[in-house]
Point group: C2
Chain length 224, copies 2
């Protein structure tokens, strides 16, 4: 007990990134085996210590970790939550700031092909290092909740996409089926999409869109 | 630079609580002058270091801080975000896990009367200690965004309330005016309210409600 002293032991502060992508209409997460103890060899999220001599904030820690470990910059990165406690890391009381990263799946395939990551269905994960099963569940829950009132799922597509593609991603992430005309009306009402070009097609040409910046955060409830 | 060593300097980890209440239909935040340097005498949010020998997680740090500093247990407490960086605390690189706490204003009045806190309109704050002006803005933004699709504003009322009272709190927090019949239908659709009793009144008796547990998090968009 150190109650009578002014200085207390500092907790460990780490960042972990749940990088999610849609493969065959199911959410997948990027994992890699840990190179060192604890949990050496066990699959884990990309993550690492905050470096006080390098990182401007924890978001920059997340970006540095993805750059150093995967050579990768995600299409979307946002803070999900901070998990903490005495038991989640055997090295001591620790807090992890958890980031949700989203990207189109085919851009992750080269990383999987050269063995830097493997992609796993978030609903069928083995036992991971630390509390990473829980961190992934929290990040996926954040994505599902935000999908109902923002256009966040479009970050799982390429830069340019059609509205049926956004709807397919929305339905895959949330499990909600929607009438196509309703979905089109509601996603356009958010003001988050910008028209780019007409994509030629045999039956009916399709309007392509990209995301406007910044992402609308206080938008329509798409699921209604 | 310590790149070649395995052990890096650990950041400071603190918790700060933005305790919000509605007074005269405006959001107010509980502040107190800092007793010690840095920013001695400057108004600040209740907060403190994570204690690795006492706290089960950062939420317990938030509860301990409110208990020790204010002798107070809020009706609602949730994590809002984590702010971090080298410049926000002169003592070194720091991260603060920010909690949003909500309570009925009249229960905070005794704390204000005995000088433990003062209550300030969040839209008219002086320059506070650290980055606490920003932390309050982030917490209020979280409350406003969540008010659109949950019944979170009911935590600003007493345990028992009427639907017009919830609507008044919703309108005060979000700035959105709503048709009363629409609001009633949408808030009841969330399933978050339970009927308690009929409150007698001269003109028309009112149905009273309380919040069902747990709080519905993926609900209707009340603002539509």
């Amino acid at each position: 007990m150190t109650k009578t002293t002014a200085v207390h032991e500092r907790p460990i502060l780490t960042v972990d990134v749940a990088l999610l992508a849609l493969i065959d209409e199911r959410l997948h997460v990027a994992l890699a085996p840990r190179a060192t103890a604890p949990f050496k060899g066990r699959l884990a999220l990309p993550g690492g210590y905050v470096r006080v001599d390098e990182d401007a904030d924890t978001e920059q820690t997340a970006r540095r970790v993805l750059r150093e470990k995967l050579g990768f910059e995600p299409a979307h990165l946002e803070q999900a939550c901070t998990e903490s406690g005495p038991a989640r890391d055997p090295r001591g009381w620790s807090a992890s700031v958890v980031y949700l990263a989203l990207h189109a799946a085919d851009a992750l395939q080269p990383l999987a092909d050269d063995g830097r990551i493997s992609l796993h269905d978030v609903e069928a994960l083995p036992a991971l290092a630390f509390d990473h099963n829980r961190l992934i569940a929290l990040a996926a829950q954040r994505l599902r909740a935000k999908s109902a009132y923002t256009s966040i799922v479009a970050h799982l597509l390429h830069d340019e996409f059609t509205i049926p593609q956004v709807q397919a991603a929305f339905e895959a992430v949330t499990g909600h089926r929607m009438n196509a005309a309703n979905f089109r009306r509601k996603i356009l009402e958010t003001g988050a999409l910008k028209e780019t070009r007409i994509v030629p097609a045999a039956y009916r040409p399709a309007q392509a869109y990209r995301l406007a910046e910044p992402l609308t955060d206080f938008g329509q409830n798409l699921a209604r």
